[in-house]
Amino acid sequence: MSTTEVPRIITSRFDYEDSFTLARYEATGGYQALRKALGMAPSAVADEVKSASLLGRGGAGFPAGVKWGLAPAEVWPRYLVVNGDESEPGTYKDRLLMELDPHQLIEGVLLACYAIGCGQAFLYVRGEMPLAQERIATALNDAYAAGYIGRNILGSDFSVDVVLSWGAGAYIVGEETALIESLEGNRGMPRLKPPYFPAAKGLYMQPTIVNNVETLSNLPWIVSNGGEAFAAFGAETSRGTRMFAVSGHVKTPGVFEVEYGVTTFRDLIFSPQYGGGIRNDNAIKAFIPGGASAPWFFEEHLDLPLEKVTVDRAGSMLGSGAIVVMDETTDAVKACLRLVRFFSRESCGKCTPCREGTTWLEKILQRILDGYGRPSDLALLMDVCDNISPGIAWPPKQTTICPLGPSAVSPIASAIERFRPEFDARITQAEQTRISVPVAFPKAVTHA
């Protein structure tokens, strides 16, 4: 079991009680990266981020520097949108970054705007997170007063307003085109592609860069210390550090910043400084490596490193850094139903395979759990899955505008493939119980 010694890049202030204040931020090197950047050409700042090989931390893992480069040349204005709509089940990191170190995020926003040439930035925070909204509002107000945001920042010719905006309860708004729709005051439904990237046509159909909170929180460190210093940590295709939330049946659940691509699942789940092992020293049954949308992993995957390409090749994804551990006592059918129900509830309803498919998957799983399962139900489940995502492969094929529907297939395919006897037993037992229960017909009423 190994744990690597790397500095905490984005959680370095988390232990201070006043970590969220401007005074603490300035006393610990805050806004020095902004000062440094203002003395550099914007393109040089962008080059630092490119050389850091920073992968987006929202779920898709798209390289941030490349994403910035997708904005078409000489089309103005450009906008920056910050995705703070953290809601993938099992994911718990952006909320902490917003609540505990809002200035670090704001400095990241300013660096991005300076490098990309964004005229205005919108910081979209999940509706259900008033403390994060409060801390960011306070941080913005303080940063404006101190001259870090707004007109002629720190006496330079760089000017940008950062506007705090917030949602109202919709998982799908985490999808970047749905987020843009929401920010335009519409129902949060993903946009039809093409255009594939909001970087080309996004907010108000202008070039828009949408970056995740954790992604942007890395920028002050990268600009201060250089992209190469950042890229010195981690593995070939996964640089720097990353936050992972370890939840479920572990002894000491928590959110940990670890070296990206080097630390293994076994380290995170079993090491005493992280998850501390399975509760009651039970056996591990399965774990979700990257949020509800990720296919499940099992004991044989424990020694894989938390590295994007390796995990992708093994048939799942690191997604949003959400590791959910299930011990041997876990009811696979129940867990599976809960995940599917999530997708069914959160489907925006725009595409038929997702709207109808997730609804039927939930209904069938519910009846299996309720004792009304039919012998043909498992085949039916797989058939519905196949209609949502043909071939039930990884990465999933898409029949829909966004990946929400195909994501609902992941838990079912994983659970049925691995724990089919559990599903079968539920259905067989149900049949036996049903036969033994007398059916109570209402008494016939005779009318005089």
Partner: protein, 204 residues
């Protein structure tokens, strides 16, 4: 139960003024309406429509997509219990069942005294603190049945002054001082950003 108050109208206009297109202010304004009345009234939506310059139907069209907006009165305290995977594994469903018994209501229902509404909700990003819940979106971590009952008792007795009535989210608002304001950039503002231009000049 009405249109936005004079004070809130002023806040609304300030919020609208931060966006390149006024419709972008819809969600923040709907929250403002819900903060004022505890839920979003038809009158408030009509008023917001006037302020933003869209039809009332468009306001409802947007509002009805989002789960946080309520269109009829709910309890003073909205108790949201997470039952998604991390919480389910740690007893979230059992906690919900306990809450149903304690309060005598099902998810989506409100107690007769108008104090509590419960909802079973999707992941609220406190997965390592399961089972968790929110009261008016304020977090409570690793909640046992006993702690739940105590929390309810405290809310009933009015001793939890840290939790505002339903509708209030952040108690701090963003204020952009006029002398620091960079200004709204609309899609029509097609000028080259000045700091990019000056940097190019310096290089050439």
């Amino acid at each position: 139960m009405a249109r936005l108050s004079a004070e809130n109208t002023e806040i609304a206009l300030e919020i609208i003024g931060r966006y390149p297109r006024s419709k972008s202010a819809l969600i923040p304004l709907l929250h403002l309406a819900q903060e004022q009345d505890g839920y979003v009234t038809d009158e408030a939506m009509a008023h917001i429509a006037d302020l933003v310059g869209v039809s009332a139907a468009e306001v409802l069209g947007t509002a009805s997509f989002y789960e946080m907006f309520k269109f009829e009165p709910v309890g003073r305290y909205m108790v949201n219990i997470c039952t998604n995977i991390s919480c389910q594994l740690m007893g979230g469903e059992e906690l919900l069942e306990h809450a149903e018994h304690t309060l005598g209501i099902r998810p989506g229902q409100t107690t007769d005294d108008g104090l509590f509404t419960i909802e079973d909700v999707e992941c609220i990003a406190a997965c390592t603190e399961a089972p968790c819940l929110q009261v008016n979106y304020r977090y409570f971590h690793k909640i046992t049945n006993g702690e739940f009952d105590q929390l309810i008792a405290e809310l009933r007795s009015g001793s939890r002054t840290d939790i505002p009535a339903h509708g209030t989210l952040a108690k701090v608002r963003q204020r952009i001082p006029a002398d620091r304001r960079a200004g709204v950039i609309t899609p029509e503002d097609t000028a080259h950003p000045v700091w990019l231009a000056s940097s190019q000049e310096a290089q050439s």
